[in-house]
Symmetry: C2
DNA sequence: AGCGGATGTCATGCCATATATTACAACTAT
DNA sequence: ATAGTTGTAATATATGGCATGACATCCGCT
């Protein structure tokens, strides 16, 4: 199992919006072309990002605008925004019917839950350390290398 | 997206095998009853655990035997054993066709890869800190509380 | 040797979810 | 008003997890 590509798509989209912000017509179709997915996917991802307050859009008129500077948008923000993992259950999917008549079955959940949450927290903390600014910078570096 | 319940099933199975080791007929059917899934699922999970050297089984005769003491079986071992996440791609699923003609599209992968791997590593390190012995101990505690 | 009880594994079906795609109403700017 | 765009619903397809039945293989025991 893997975390949905919606996450990497979202990072890509935000980076591209910033990178091409002075260009005409950075619309969902253009972005979809860069990402390599259907424009509707881009629009739904952008919807989620808007709901999360990461960017702003306007119906009818082309182009989204970031609501925060790049270095204040962390991977965690994006990851949460696009529902990369199930909100209720968390990162780990627990088997749903351990036998309550079995001493192990009726206690396994309690024994594992807190520890799994800790693992998840640790991963999420790592995501908080990375910002889109880091990515944008790396990409500019790579582009500079290309033309060298 | 979530990590397969095969993982929590595997932890449950190992714990149960140890807990009921002195009982008769701790076979896949019995374990399936405790976990609340089909016996075939238990058998495939056990197969993976055997391949990973975590336990030993014998065709025909009932019951699996752990190959290591509980405190030497980490969550990470189990997680890797049952293929909780895709081996090749890792925890994050990258969108597959970023546009090579777009400066952002052709560099986004490079810019994100190492960082995402770092996130994954950090999660896996957390998994290494937890052993089945921790779980078994917690469960025994809970059981003691029940009868108090 | 033969039998009963297991395991190991395959094949199939079902269901949930991710992504693709079409369609269209709502909206903006010119 | 018109062209261009967003927001979103509806539908289709593909993939993967889990359930389930079937069965060959194997072990222990009598």
């Amino acid at each position: 199992m893997q975390i949905t590509s919606r996450f990497t798509i979202a990072v890509h989209v935000i980076t591209a919006i910033e990178y091409f912000k002075d260009m005409d017509r950075v619309n969902s179709e253009f972005l979809a072309g860069s990402v390599g997915v259907n424009p509707v996917i881009v629009r739904t991802v952008i919807s989620k990002l808007r709901e999360a307050g990461i960017l702003k859009t306007q119906r009818g008129s082309s182009g989204a605008v970031l609501a925060k500077p790049l270095d204040q948008i962390t991977f965690y923000d994006v990851y949460k925004a696009v529902d990369s993992v199930d909100k209720e259950e968390g990162l780990f999917h627990f088997h749903e019917q351990p036998n309550p008549n079995c001493p192990v079955g009726r206690n396994i959940h309690k024994a594992m839950d807190e520890r799994l949450k800790e693992v998840q927290r640790s991963m999420e903390n790592e995501l908080k350390k990375i910002t889109i600014a880091d990515i944008a910078e790396d990409i500019r570096k790579e582009i500079r290398l290309e033309s060298a």
